[in-house]
Symmetry: C2
Subunit: 174 residues, 2 copies
């Protein structure tokens, strides 16, 4: 009981949608920071040059996504702060396990795409959520967050296209 009470007293009380927006922003800020660290490893692990390029390009986009979140925090009058995103930890952990596994290069590439699309979909859900809140709060952040959401969706589609046109075909031919 004591433990529970102390845990509770540490927790923020969520009284408004704005407070929830900030909580969700902190989750995304943690998620993007983790992706920033994971992508260089994915670039190295990929065999197919187009896939390496896609990951490298998304790394550059992710740097901008982090900056955009920082700008939105500022606009909300809050210091950028991370709240460890355990979901992203899990997605990346599974991706790294896959990278270490003994696999045919094209099968590994297919697995890397599968992991990366889980990352993208996590972000699509997350940004969709904060955009919905920001719209209601008439917060100026909407446009910036929407740019990021569009880029996450484009990356997801590009990975689907690459898998269907190249990587999965190679893996299926083994």
């Amino acid at each position: 009981l004591k433990l529970e009470l102390s845990a509770r007293s540490n927790a923020v009380k969520l009284e408004t949608l704005k407070e929830l927006l900030i909580e969700e922003m902190r989750d995304l800020y943690s998620a993007e920071s983790q992706i920033l660290k994971a992508l260089p490893k994915m670039v190295k692990a990929a065999s197919e040059p187009e896939l390496r390029n896609a990951f490298a390009e998304h790394l550059e986009q992710t740097k901008k996504h982090v900056e955009r979140l920082e700008t939105v925090f500022e606009g909300l009058g809050k210091k950028p702060k991370r709240k460890t995103c355990r979901a992203m930890e899990g997605i990346i952990e599974e991706g790294e396990e896959m990278m270490k596994q003994d696999a045919e290069p094209s099968v590994r590439d297919a697995a890397l795409i599968a992991a990366a699309q889980r990352v993208e979909h996590y972000e699509i859900a997350g940004y969709g959520t904060v955009i919905a809140y920001a719209k209601l709060l008439q917060d100026g952040a909407v446009e910036l967050l929407q740019q990021t959401l569009n880029e996450e969706k484009e990356t997801d589609q590009k990975l689907t296209e690459l898998a269907e046109r190249l990587v999965n075909l190679e893996a299926a031919a083994l």
Copy 2:
């Protein structure tokens, strides 16, 4: 080094797309099983009756999703086996933290929707992946998996609609 070697020897070598399909199926089987346990708690935690209904309905769908995965495993000549999906553990853990947190009912409902949409998007990515593999392998599983994917997408859209029409508006009015 010794530890790494022993870890390696435990890992499956991924030599074909079919082996990767089975790995991904095991991840989804774990994810669906976790969702099956989490949804009754989400039903209880939700205040808005329409949201409770949406979660209760998705619980019934999830039972079918689990059965469909078992059918697909059978068709692939494999026993249904779970490979702990750490990503889903993370998503659900964060959702449960949110349920315990001191919050206004409509803000908690909004947070529950945010967590549930992360769940849906994880599955949209995962089922999209296994469907792409099953298509190439000309596996009969495609149709069953596609039914599930459609239901995950419909659930995601229903939650967006419910958030925009009701829950987020209530939370924004606080």
